[in-house]
Symmetry: C2
Subunit: 471 residues, 2 copies
């Protein structure tokens, strides 16, 4: 900082005052000076006009100027010097903040996009949700708004336990449930708590969603991929792997669409019992089964061996950030403590609103409506695939928000996705989901947020892309 001192005459401090404003004049003067210092227009060391002179110049009472200077001195923008003058403080010199330049995404987004993980948020039941919000705001006791407990709002745990026991065949009660901000937070906390309790090795389905593996590594767990067979996880391979916790998508495997068979369920529970291990059941989209009643959750079979995770992200909206766990007794307190330490609980309004929404049957109603819609989309997708690209055969059961097709040997994920991208179509390979790449190539189609028309048009484009690759 330069030690030379600039003296500013009253006329040089250009501050515009709006006498018609409701903002007091001293505050207007403060903001004006503060802004000039921030923008570097008033440099460190610059002496400000004497209060009397500035007051005369601006047509203010001197008290107003004194008040403004004092405030800015208290805040550290100005310094009062011996001799009675006021100077811009040296600490106030700072690089001005530049507007942030965001990375511009490479290329335009595809016009039709089969990316997974997008439910149809245009169908969010806004009116019914508002009804529940209104009820909560009108009727919930004041205490509900104070600091929360780690397990979550009792009302929601009760409503969800009833719902899940009825619809998913779980053995839930308010006492063994925990509310979290979606599967992302719930699974992270669970892996952290397990790692702290001495668990070491997490087995995941191969292929499976890749996001959890990073979380596991951060939590200090080793991750192992175990192959998925037609009836679910290869339990013999699991047994050999030395894992002490396994994550399964038993009701509808992601991304293969397989359903864990009764035999595999029994083998998994037997494994967990023999090994004193834990099964984490990610029940992410089990409400969407189109060909029959969904298979009940494994948690109901062995509540002390299974930690069950559910989410509203696929059924209502990801933006809600609502998820839930049903936990073995021994994990309830450690998880409630972990959740409390993490963020002091999830938003109380969302929790109470969702509780009312579930308890009034609105959730069931919404799911019935969405099942019809998604089933139609899936049927359209499967039909169009059969018509237009018959050698891309869908595998897995009629369920969920996605379909997997394996690729015939002459087509590679990279060629097809690139040719599709050139045509404004987003299709996605299996690549990111493998732990050990088996060389099998395939495409995962998410259809949740599309229309029938877009699905049909998308498969037309895909057929065109495939033909181009084969040419």
């Amino acid at each position: 900082m330069s030690r030379s001192r600039t003296n500013l005459g009253p006329g040089e401090l250009l501050v515009e005052l709006d006498r018609g404003s409701t903002v007091p004049l001293h505050q207007q003067l403060e903001s004006g000076i503060r802004e000039r210092i921030r923008q570097g227009l008033l440099r460190a060391g610059t002496a400000l006009p004497a209060t009397r002179a500035l007051a005369a110049d601006l047509g203010l009472s001197r008290g107003v100027v004194v008040e403004a200077y004092q405030q800015l001195v208290a805040e550290g923008y100005l310094v009062s010097r011996a001799g009675g003058y006021t100077q811009v403080a040296s600490a106030a010199v700072r690089p001005s903040v530049q507007p942030r330049l965001r990375n511009v995404a490479a290329g335009l987004p595809p016009r039709i996009d089969f990316r997974y993980s997008r439910p149809d948020v245009t169908q969010f039941p806004r009116t019914a949700w508002l009804r529940s919000v209104r009820k909560v705001l009108n009727e919930s006791p004041h205490e509900a708004l104070a600091y929360l407990e780690g397990q979550g709002a009792l009302e929601l745990r009760e409503a969800l336990a009833d719902y899940l026991n009825r619809v998913r065949g779980t053995a839930a009660q308010a006492g063994n449930m925990l509310i979290c901000n979606g599967f992302a937070q719930g699974s992270r906390l669970l892996l952290q708590v397990l790692a702290a309790a001495g668990y070491r090795r997490l087995a995941v389905e191969d292929p499976s969603d890749d996001e959890l593996r990073v979380v596991a590594t951060t939590a200090g767990l080793e991750t192992i991929g175990v192959p998925v067979l037609e009836g679910g996880l290869d339990v013999e391979a699991l047994d050999r792997s030395g894992a002490d916790v396994v994550l399964v998508t038993a009701a509808h495997q992601f991304p293969t669409g397989a359903v864990t068979s009764a035999r595999t369920r029994a083998a998994l529970i037997d494994w967990a019992t023999r090994r004193d291990a834990l099964i984490v059941e990610d029940d992410y989209d089990a409400e969407y089964r189109y060909d029959r009643e969904p298979v009940g959750a494994m948690q109901g079979l062995a509540p002390e061996r299974v930690a069950y995770a559910g989410t509203a992200s696929k059924t209502l909206a990801p933006g809600l950030r609502l998820g839930w766990l049903i936990l073995p007794e021994r994990l309830v307190d450690p998880m409630a403590e972990a959740k409390f330490a993490d963020d002091r609980g999830s938003s109380v309004f969302d929790q109470l609103t969702f509780a009312d929404f579930v308890a009034r049957g609105e959730f069931d109603r919404h799911l019935r409506r969405m099942r019809l819609r998604y089933r139609l989309l899936r049927d359209t997708l499967v039909r169009c695939l059969a018509e237009k690209v018959p050698d891309l055969r869908p595998v897995g059961v009629s369920a969920g928000l996605h379909v997997l097709t394996w690729l015939p040997p002459d087509l590679s994920e990279q060629d097809v996705t690139q040719a599709a991208r050139d045509r404004g179509l987003g299709v996605y390979g299996l690549q990111p989901y493998w732990v050990h790449n088996t060389g099998a190539e395939g495409l995962v189609f998410g259809y949740g947020s599309l229309t029938e028309h877009a699905v049909a048009k998308g498969i037309d484009l895909l057929a065109d892309a495939v033909a181009a690759v084969r040419k």
Copy 2:
């Protein structure tokens, strides 16, 4: 498991069916059998009645029984055996979950409680909030409900930047703000990101809130206490400590109530610049200043040296779980990534509702109302202390939701809080807030959630307790 086989006659499977219910009969039958297995009433290996016999017994078509058995086989409760009979699966044997016994808190809660950290949630502006929720549900675009970005909803970052720049003198813009679930999550993520970036030593004010220290340790940071003087932190001691990050409550120190002087502000920023260190400014209750305009935030003086943290927990309700950070440019992307990895963003409805609430001036209106209310409570508390226990002299400025009084040498925290507790009064010592206990004893009075009457009555009880200790 016993290998002996129990055969169950059709009449022995007592399942009650409600033919008037909307629940399909096969589902009723499934639930009935599932529950009996769960409760241990049907042991592993037990053979179920033949479908034809059970159907006849219950007056059902055989298809209904077959469907129920198949479902339970798929779920793993039953096993189909060669020879055509169906058996309870061995995996289905499990210990029944006992209702959880919660620790019963020792003793009754005090009738009047000066515990800190409780704003008056009875004053939550429910009507105005509902108006904002309605607007959000009626008008927000569908895309808002899909997966979020790590920094939080743009609408809220914009509304808060405007508000904070106006009321707190910050240099915020949507681009350097991040929305989090209260200070708890925001500070945890910040310390984690700092630790990952190579920061090693966190200085905290001594005394100060103790919760962050655990978080710092978990994040891998060493914590050091630096004494608080009348004008704020002892910056010379800070400089000697070798800290590379410091947490300050500059506008209103917790718990001493001191305001960081202009000199200390300048010295802190100078320290941060020299050391290439970071100041974390916890602006937890700065909106509540009663004797004058609040001193602006330090962040406005040096945005690249200060990470600013604010929360709605003290101003609206802790149950909202809304907090915000204004970050130096270099921390924005790492923090957005950390927040996204943590829980994929905060609840979108709360964010958009709060954005509307702030933008419409409802937040200012609410704060004006609450300032009057809290000021009255503080004045009552200070007046009653002066009248009834004049040697417990309040220190700190007229601000916030708490008051500290030091204790005269003949009174100890332990004796006074115990004597108060015997009279149904909750008062709390400084003990937990010290990093290095200086031997100074005092009491911290939180008054946010009390009435004038309760404050006056509480100080009567305190005077009585003090007299008893001195007797």
